[in-house]
């Protein structure tokens, strides 16, 4: 299983039946593939649809139905289309249960930076600031390390996305829960030991006595049943 799939599958287990979920572009968008179609989860694309479906079969694309990245999508039965005021009204108003976003940095206060690298990458924040401010739960799905640099740091050096503490960070090495008393290591990736995680993390981690592996027997998720309910 490659790192992205590992992360996506683990994120999918955080999604409960009936939730409204927004998935960011890139890695987060892979999560949809691991949430069972029967779970009654609705995905939001913030450009204007509740009930985002899979990519359409070739030749059945419609220019009026795309996701926030501009890719062609479908709509599930019971879907609804909305304008941007309603879309962000849902997000800021607390009606979105979960947002899954990529990250550039997460720090010990649980702050996320994911929209700007001054002088290098200045694309604009798009919907990220509203999503992190307003969503019920914010899950950051990212590689633990980027080009040899730890992304989990004592304090973000990049511009923050919001003041809100994110709820969970899921990487290719670990599951970490930001809490009022710091970053708590909750799970480690299969075959990864604590020293590897410590070495790849610049921030201080609170490490409980037992840190189980992400995919563990008897857990809510097992290989071969990736479509089981979370």
């Amino acid at each position: 299983m490659d790192a992205k799939e590992l992360i996506a599958r683990r994120v999918a287990r955080e999604i409960q039946p009936g939730m409204l979920v927004n998935l960011g572009i890139g890695l987060p968008s892979l999560v949809a593939g691991f949430v069972p179609a029967t779970s009654g989860v609705f995905f939001q694309a913030e450009n204007g649809v509740i009930g985002l479906g899979a990519r359409p079969p070739e030749g059945m694309e419609d220019p009026h139905l795309t996701d926030a990245g501009g890719s062609f999508v479908t709509a599930v039965p019971g879907a609804a289309s909305i304008d941007s005021a309603m879309s962000f009204g849902l997000i800021r108003g607390g009606h979105l249960d979960v947002t899954v976003l990529g990250g550039l940095q997460v720090d010990e206060a649980g702050h996320l930076a994911n929209w700007k690298v001054p002088g290098k990458m200045v694309p604009g924040m798009g919907g990220a600031m509203d999503l992190v401010t307003g969503a019920g739960r914010v899950i950051v799905a990212m590689q633990h390390v980027a080009k040899g640099e730890p992304k989990i740091v004592p304090q973000c050096t990049l511009p923050l996305t919001a003041l809100r503490r994110v709820d969970l960070v899921i990487t290719d090495l670990a599951v970490i829960a930001p809490t009022p008393s710091g970053l708590v290591l909750q799970e480690r990736a299969p075959g990864v030991d604590l020293d590897q995680i410590r070495a790849a993390t610049a921030a201080h981690l609170v490490i409980p006595e037992e840190v189980p592996e992400m995919t563990r027997p008897g857990g809510r998720h097992s290989p071969g049943n990736c479509f089981g309910k979370g």
Binding site: A45, E46, N47, G48, V49, D62, P63, H64, L65, T66, D67, A68, G69, G70, A75, S81, I82, D83, S84, A85, F88, G89, I91, R92, K116, M121, V122, P123, G124, M125, G126, G127, A128, M129, D130, T133, G134, P159, L160, T161, A162, L163
Partner: protein, 221 residues
Amino acid sequence: MKATLKAEAAAAMIPDGASLMIGGFMGVSSPERLIDAIVARGTRDLTVIANDTAMPGRGIGKLISAGAVSRVIASHIGLNPETRAGMIAGEIDCELVPQGTLIERIRAGGVGLGGVLTPTGLGTEVEDGKQKIEVQGRTYLLETPLRADFSLLGARQADYVGNLCYLLTAHNFNPMMALAGATVIAEPEAIVPVGVIPPISVKTLGILVDHLLRALLGKGC
């Protein structure tokens, strides 16, 4: 009932230096023929208020490539390297606004509100220079209304009253922009007789639309 006009005639109404709200999200449901006509006319020094600047060759991206735009207020420009290059070169002044704040500022301008209080942006660069107001024990940023000289809308269907419908994710910024432009020009893909669009299906009221672009019939215009 509104007379329809050609894209060239609509573009001719827009002077150099005008501010434009342009509907669309990554080019989906932007008024492409109207944009082409503005580019062809060579209008300059435009302010564009929109979610994004699409990409080169599409929607607002064509205005950027043509050098028609000197100022952008948007939530995202990341998929258009020309906007970024223009910003770095100092040719395009870019104000980046969180998407939910941008649409609320446009709505506020359109519905006569003096502003809205949002938690989005608090504690980030976005709060610079803004008033903070406490309500019921929580702190918010005061975000002010946006209006424009023109709103340019892309729609699926219109009737001759000017009522507009959109399809699926093609609503995006169009319905709120219809409220916030001093002059509103709509480019529908099709126009149907009055009475054909059911009253509950109208998403932009005809009374908000000043000019309607003639729909394309087959290949002709």
